[in-house]
Amino acid sequence: MDVQVRPADESELIDAIRGLTAAGTPAQVNGAGTKQRFGRPVNAGVTLQLDGLTGIQAYAPDELTLTCGAGTSLETVESLLREHDQELAFEPPDLGPLYGAPPGGATIGGVLGCNLAGSRRVRAGGARDHFLGFRAVSGRAEAFKAGGHVVKNVTGYDLCKLLAGSFGTLAALSEVTVKVLPRAGRTGTLLLPGRSVADAVGLLIAAWQSRLEPSGLSCVPPEIVPLLPPGLPADAGCIAAIRFEGPEGSVLDRLTRMRDQLGGASLQLGDEQSRAVWKALTDAAPFADAASVQAERPLWRLSLPPASAASVIDRLVGRPGGAWLLDGGMLWFAPAGDASASTEVRAETERVGGAATLLRAPPSVRAAEGVFPRQSDGIERIAAAIRSGFDPAGVLNPGRMGA
């Protein structure tokens, strides 16, 4: 029998976790639950649902900070920011649809807990880089806080970093403070079609090294083009897509100069088409088709040293084969024929010093093969010690991040 507990405030959250620890009952910890199938399956009869901890507590646009309940929906946060011409610069992706959740369901706490960032990662950093402070309840059923409400702070250990990407295994966030920034303004994209993978990656690196400050660098193979919003040419070969954002004049200026610098055939996307395409890239939308979602077709996300991407793509496409999409240093990869291809993918990623995460797969595969990359024994020991310090009874998402 599945029990759902949905605290409405921090004291109810404390009570809930106290109940779990007293009973020795583990819980699946969710924001709104859109990504609950991200991670190893958690064997729990209780779901601790945190989307009742809502509300904007403080928002001072000219301080560049926002504080809200961790269960506040990302949409609420983003629409408030939009009213003030600001945004979360790390471009939080909406990965729920990869798991069959409706779009736009995520909470801000969930995005931070999974440390998710979009295509602008290359320029603006990840969710971790914008996470300034929090209140949370650890597996000890104790409320604690860390960080602060200001943009610059080194008081004590940076526990925001620890909780970003901890997938609810250390503490349940109740309130978060994030850095907000002026909205990027206009968007434009330079498309360089008909390239080999190696050429396209080379162009993206050249763009990244340039002084023109691109905010999105993607390599789109021809098979993926039909799965993206319109505007991309359906040529043979890959498209190197380079995004610029900022005031209109500056975007146009940089598009032209980048085109001249890189040479060869090119096209440009205007503001509206650019936004749609990059939203789809950020959300990995080409992998969210109904059949793949239904079957939980294995989908990997590889974080790579950017310059190694071409060789990784080359070797993975050689064997085991499959569909891919490169977004910054992040490679999305769905192996051919519904296999997880864990051995090949992990070996290939380790070869270049990257990290591979099995973002989607059937529960049995996630349970058997693991989701997150293997770490060295020394790191595993520290991680286990951190976990037993924060959640000694093992009640918060036990097993989700590893054995």
Partner: protein, 495 residues
Amino acid sequence: MRMPEPDAAVIAARAELVAALRAIVPGEGVIEEERELLAYETDGLTAYRELPMLVVLPETTEQVAAVLKLCHGRGVKIVPRGAGTGLSGGALPLRDGVTLGLGRFNRILEIDYDNLCVVTQPGVTNLAITRAVEDQGFYYAPDPSSQIACSIGGNVAENSGGVHCLKYGVTTNNITGVEVVTMAGDVLRIGGRHADPAGYDLLGVITGSEGLLGVITEVTVKIRPKPECTRAALVGFPTIRAGATCVSRVISEGIIPAGMEMMDKFAIEAAEAFAHAGYPLDAESLLIVELDGTVSEVDDGMARVIAIARECDATHVRENADEAERERFWSGRKSAFPAMGRLSPDYICMDGTIPRGRLPDVLDGITALSRKHDLRVANVFHAGDGNLHPLILYDANDSDQLARAEAFGADILKLCVAEGGVLSGEHGIGVEKRDLMPTMFDDTDLKHQQRLKCAFDPDGLLNPGKMFPELHRCAELGKMHVHHGKLPFPHLPRF
């Protein structure tokens, strides 16, 4: 300054330890002569001094691991040390401790332009990284004022910032990997040349851990292409409030300057007398606003900044005509410290952050405190991100002045916290602000922080006496108090 009780048994076994250390680090790498130890007795916070029991200067990660393992086995405390420029006493030695200096880790290991990163040893100075890549048009963004001297390992340990961190972030936002040796001697390689490695973000927690979690033996930093265009404006205001309003307006209009620095009248006068930077002496507050990016973007942004400044009643507005003038604008700000050194035998540089909107009130508060403690103070200030650096002038030979300076500093930091800010924006807690931690964090908060420490260093041998006012034993912190009796959710399944 209250420090952990020295361990008499450790001190008694000093000679044996020296022999064992020499077997690991041969030659000059183990220092035991008092005359030589003196060079390590303090860091940038010179008010506190202590002679270390020994200093060891290893050259390789293997040596660091062996030294730590040895000391771990013998229960000997370790104080990591980079260049010793820290301003919160993080590298203050312990009488029964070994100071482990990373100065010999002074090589850049690899420059990888394709992945826009540099792999370096921790003893390399911050500026040396930029120097190594600037001929190719790149730089390392965080730029503490101490950048010619401070080590990149120390920057990581303190999560240091600089004048350009509003736009480009502090150290933690600009590194992707470290190699760290734990107190037990385990070598951990964390992160690499890619973003967001999965698993707990140990890179993120090592950064800013002030030498309490591990010894950093290698760092991978991100480098960036140098902006095409950099331009600065010098703006003087008739009041502090007008300057502060201008800062807020710039940001709320969507402009994120590369740097936005503010100085009060006393700081302006001192800096001008020292550096002849062309600062307006009739201004009550002065801003340096620097924009970078493409030429068209900087043109556009600068026009808007200047319009805003005029609307905020600026009395003096000057854009740099050439690169030499831009450097002159900065020369005053960057010499604020030595300028104070000419006016007073000693000064302490405080470091707190406030919500920027509170600036005028906080400065009024500091002025009142200056009267209360009867000491002069000059304010320089990373205005963009609300990071205050009041410089308190005193004479260390007068013990009453030192005590007043410390009390004044503590009062300023308490004021920052009371106004919604924090104890440190970039200099760290160290010993200086250690005892103020409870003004910001309660016991439960601090215990959770220390549980992180316990995961890395359960015996508390790495840099003890820093950051936490009270060290709980890890065994005690590990206990879990289960609350029996009435349960709030009686319907939960029980096993």
